[in-house]
Symmetry: C2
Subunit: 347 residues, 2 copies
């Protein structure tokens, strides 16, 4: 063990998470899907979106905000496209079903797109885009997040923190997995800084008057995250534009607005690679591209150039071998949920 934190076995963590979700009211099959998604997120080092959110999810189920057993419904007027009503279900379960439906349609026509309304927080967007990889497809996943971004020219939180993810398979190299918020950083990074008492780098957030801040506490006092690009001069209208594009595909195209103003809305897409070209050729060309970028001249002090998804794959290898080093605050939250629900804590 090289980590100072205890490495938790991913299988045991999945089983524990499954039991918690199941006890909270989610049917076993769905609980298993959600547990696997959450632990996969932690395995890949995206600590802000893994089992650290389990307490929040359970709270939302127990308060009645999230429907633990949703009757999701699909409507469609075309072979390649559909809308899913998530029936206020758990976002990880609804997202899994919707991406599965997008891939089913892509099997038939080459492309499948499903937009989703009435869902809830779906965790890390990359998980759904990555579902396409073993199916030899390119995967797309988007979601509308909670309020938190300032629009260029505005002050305060007026735009949701949206997420865009694209995944494409390679051959020997790590698959390409882009998973990004349309803000400079995800809100989870502010949470982590606040929890650890650290200050924020400049360029992440502003206070309620639009002035730059480095104290994470000011974010929670009417502050906001900047759009990707930072200031208008360095392209914040692009980050805002991407956020609105995600809004359109998730909230408008699914019929979530005006009735369901800021609820969980997602958008999923799948493109079957062999609808365009032979899969082997594609995977090998991906390897070639990744290697070409890796071989670019390095800036002083840089050992390696990383393509989206490579760092996460390295972390996953390490964590599969050594366990997942959960933050003590997260371990505490898991113990608390276990106690609250009467589930055995065995991690």
């Amino acid at each position: 063990m090289t980590s100072e934190r205890k490495g938790i076995d991913p299988e045991k963590l999945t089983d524990f998470t499954l039991r918690v979700l199941n006890k909270a009211g989610i049917p076993e099959g769905d609980a298993k899907i959600a547990a696997q998604i959450l632990v996969a997120t932690d395995l890949r080092g995206i600590d802000s979106h893994g089992v650290g959110h389990l307490a929040m999810y359970v709270r939302n189920i127990r308060s009645g905000r999230t429907n633990p057993d949703p009757k999701t419904k699909i409507t469609s007027n075309a072979a390649s496209t559909a809308v899913m009503d998530g029936d206020r279900g758990f976002g990880l379960v609804v997202g899994y079903r919707a991406m599965t439906e997008a891939m089913r349609r892509a099997e038939e026509t080459g492309a499948g797109f499903v937009t989703v309304r009435n869902s809830s927080h779906y965790g890390a967007g990359g998980n759904y885009a990555m579902m396409a990889l073993p199916r030899d497809m390119i995967g797309i996943s988007m979601t509308v997040g909670g309020m938190g971004m300032v629009a260029p020219g505005s002050v305060g939180q007026g735009v949701t923190i949206n997420v865009l993810s694209v995944a494409a398979p390679s051959n020997q190299e790590a698959p390409f997995v882009l998973d990004m918020a349309t803000t400079v950083v995800a809100a989870g990074k502010i949470e982590i800084a606040a929890r650890e008492g650290k200050s924020l780098p400049e360029g992440w957030a502003v206070d309620k008057e639009g002035k730059p801040i480095t104290d994470p506490r000011q974010f929670y006092q009417g502050g906001a995250l900047l759009p990707m690009g930072g200031s208008p001069q360095t392209g914040s209208y692009k980050g805002f534009g991407l956020a609105v594009a995600v809004d359109i595909l998730c909230r408008i195209l699914s019929g979530a607005v005006p009735d369901q103003q800021y609820g969980g809305s997602h958008f999923f897409g799948a493109l079957r690679i062999d609808g365009f070209m032979p899969v082997d050729q594609f995977r090998k060309a991906m390897d070639g591209m990744i290697q070409q970028y890796r071989e670019l001249p390095k800036a002083p002090g840089i050992d390696r150039i990383y393509i989206s998804g490579e760092v996460e794959q390295e972390i996953e290898k390490k964590r599969r071998a050594e366990g997942i080093p959960l933050h003590p605050a997260i371990i505490k939250s898991l113990e608390d949920i276990a106690n609250e629900l009467g589930v055995e804590y065995d991690l």
Copy 2:
């Protein structure tokens, strides 16, 4: 006329551009399509991508680099997806054909995607995404551009300047049209600053050693544009990741690599709105969203919050009324091409 420059009639400019392209060897129908795209770009105020490039296009045709009469070829293994070989054609003509094909497939299945290899510079990406608007579709357009971006952790130009565009129709409001390079700014902005002898804002570009620059001349001495996001701390890996995603869809999925390393490769998509929901409902919800963003609290000194596409629509209204105020250097270049080709200059 409020502009100090002479406003050129868009009809006359289209006719002139058509005649120049036709004289250079492009068949009349294709020349008309390309002329309309170029003038539409100038009408929308995207001066870096309109008729200012005409001389370059003609040069590429006359040197044999661009095929003026391409026999574009479509291959496909699925109803919703296809690959187009552009036969080294003029990007504006190839792009128009490929987007038309994507929309034809979207008519049938709800979604259509066409990736393109062996094309050339296709102008402003928004033009093709906007072709979807009158068809009640959401349009997507991407292209690989010329070398010019530095990868995070690298020095020098190692990544192409890629472009991503999304367009969606509204009702009374301007349509949403996002049209962005995955760099902090498009290379055209550096060209304009160099031409006008102005310095660059900080955060746009670096010199050959990776140090920030404000002198546009240093960009042309081994410098590079920064990815959207600027530095790794403020999300440059997102801009790089978006650039690679565009690479994958344009160059890898079309089979452009490894044979055609950095030639013109594009990607087009169309989603038929009524495959998801009623078009009227969508358009009205778009208006509602745009109005909601417009009504956000304004920062001091800000009169209005703009959504992607609104500024361009305002410029278009003005230019349709007052003519297009081309830069004197561009007018000179048009006169020179007219002389060179023996085409009457009547602007």
